[in-house]
Symmetry: C2
Subunit: 374 residues, 2 copies
């Protein structure tokens, strides 16, 4: 088994679970948030810093790495672990979402998808088999199937077609998958249509993947709609397999996702907003570029003990961002990743002590109020 998931404790009151995901590159405690390293680097931070934050699992992107630097260069380094010198666990997204959102989509049919690169406009054709082979070479601990992610909103028939194609492609990815030391996870689609979500999940569960992702959420629908869809989808997935909710990283949604039985999450949110000077704090978002912080000696978050909050003032970080200093981006990024890491640690601690429901009830209203609107 390339990865082994085991539940160490179930929440007595909710669907939440505490678990461990064993990989060739360490054991990841779940529920966990996975920082995004699209192009072979979690933006602005090093492996050392991620390890300091206790991050055990990060994500790369097959679509981006295929375009730049190209898979053969990664192969020469023995895979993405060697290329980026990351000792921990690694997952690669197939890039299905990126092909549909970033690339100039030309044509999609059951064979595969042709698209133009968002970088140089060059035409490419990717099939489920090819994406699987590429990810075999990239060599992450976990690869993802090529899926079709419809936009939001989308008509029922369009989403139904995407579900069918996602199932077809998942089967072909599984057949093409040729690395015993790598796990291949499926991706459930179905938009916000309850029956399509269930259909997608059932079809994929029959194929027996070692883990299941829920894709096509957090793409523009309301949070209530996302939570409702999650509530319908998660229970269809097998209890003993790890569950991954894609593209979700706001604190309120992480807490809600855990409650619905999700084990891992990823999102560009913490790193992207950091580069705009927006940080997560115990009081909600804080835009540190704001002139009210010009002479503020407080740390980004008074309740945070991360390296950044232990050493730097808002006024200093604002100055760095205002003068275009790279260190500013480093500090805000580090803090946001630490913030989410701490949230997940707290969630795990609550689960370990059978008090997750209390924790949820205590934290949820505040998090929804502070972060629900994002």
């Amino acid at each position: 088994m390339p990865v082994k998931y085991s539940i160490t404790r179930n929440c007595p009151q909710t669907a939440a679970r505490l678990g461990e995901l064993e990989t060739r590159h360490g054991t990841v405690k779940t529920p966990a948030f996975m920082p995004v390293g699209t192009q072979g680097t979690v933006k602005a931070v090093t492996a050392r810093e991620l390890e300091e934050m206790d991050t055990g699992l990060i994500l790369g992107n097959c679509y981006h790495l295929f375009l730049r630097p190209g898979i053969e260069i990664i192969a020469r380094h023995g895979g993405l672990h060697g290329f980026m010198n990351w000792p921990g666990a690694l997952l690669t997204d197939s890039g299905g979402f990126q092909i549909f959102s970033l690339g100039g989509l030309r044509k999609i049919d059951d064979r595969g998808v042709s698209f133009t690169s968002h970088i140089d406009g060059k035409l490419h054709f990717l099939t489920p088999e090819r994406v699987t082979r590429l990810q075999n070479i990239i060599g992450a601990d976990i690869a993802m199937v090529l899926d079709q992610c419809p936009p939001y909103p989308a008509e029922y028939e369009e989403v139904k077609d995407a579900v069918k194609r996602t199932s077809l492609w998942a089967r072909r990815c599984k057949q093409a998958h040729a690395r015993e030391d790598q796990a291949l996870f499926a991706i459930v689609q179905g938009g916000v249509y309850e029956d399509l979500r269930r259909l997608s999940a059932q079809e994929l569960v029959e194929m027996d993947f070692p883990g299941y992702a829920i894709g096509g959420l957090s793409v523009g629908e309301s949070k209530n709609l996302m939570y409702a869809t999650l509530k319908n989808t998660a229970p269809v997935l097998p209890e003993e397999k790890v569950r991954y909710l894609m593209g979700v990283g706001s604190p309120d949604a992480l807490l809600e996702g855990v409650k619905q039985g999700i084990d891992i999450f990823d999102c560009v949110l913490p790193t992207r907003i950091a580069r705009n000077g927006r940080v997560m704090t115990s009081q909600g978002y804080l835009s540190v570029r704001n002139s009210v912080y010009a002479a503020d000696l407080d740390p980004l978050d008074r309740d945070c003990s991360c390296h950044v909050c232990s050493n730097y003032s808002r006024a200093y970080i604002r100055h760095l961002l205002n003068t275009g200093e790279i260190l500013g981006l480093r500090l805000t990024t580090y803090h946001n990743l630490y913030y989410l890491d701490r949230l997940m640690r707290n969630i795990r601690a609550a689960l370990a002590e059978d008090r997750f429901e209390q924790y949820y009830n205590k934290m949820s209203p505040g998090l929804n109020q502070m972060y629900g609107g994002f």
Copy 2:
């Protein structure tokens, strides 16, 4: 005494000396290269990383910090050490050079200099007294006098006037200087005119500063002309006082400067070229963005054991720079600072073992060939 310089060993054959500069924030082993932290951060690196490289002294800039974030904000942090959270020794340049090179110079007379900010065009007026008071508040271990740095080339009379004014201002800075725990260093001007250099040095030496900088070099003149000027100037400075050559950071010139009796150096070179993908190696400059490195598994420098060269390939760093990833700038910057730090360590080791002349003779031809043209 705010700083105390002592020579621990003189080179038996050259003017080079091994020394120690004691400050309130640690003892700096000299000869030393001082990374530039113009705006309150050495670009792209943290204090932790600088400490890891054994950097004991960095430089800030009064002109830049006066414009942004403004001195009152730094004052609220108890000074620049607190603002940027730098535990080591700190020197601030007065910004004379920046006023003349960056700002829109309006008028200069004996009273002071009026100029428009290079950021927002606002008109400012700075006098020697005011620059000294600003640096008192910034509170670095070492402050610099306000000097007048003529451009290169400049006519004899223009340089002579600048020397006179620099002496006048140095005297007024010394009188205005009001912090016993801070040293104030003078700056020798005189362009490439031997008699003016000697005149400037003599006038300033008579005023008895605790340290002397040589300014107005590395501003466009040839290296031979710079070395000739240095050879005439350094011996006029008192043996027992620390000597600082401003704006010099190329490896060949550091070695030559040490031979001529210089103790500290600063330059934006290592950090600036790093952000263009240009790194210093044992084989000379290497532009890692070059396509020949696209699949190169070697480290930036095969002879380097820094954190970057121990962990990352040229191909990876090139990929990061090509995709606009901040980590790329971090890695090239770290390596270049480490390269110069190691060079200075090697120079100090050679001095400590009375073999500097041999070291110089062995290294100088190669460094001149590899770096002399820059």
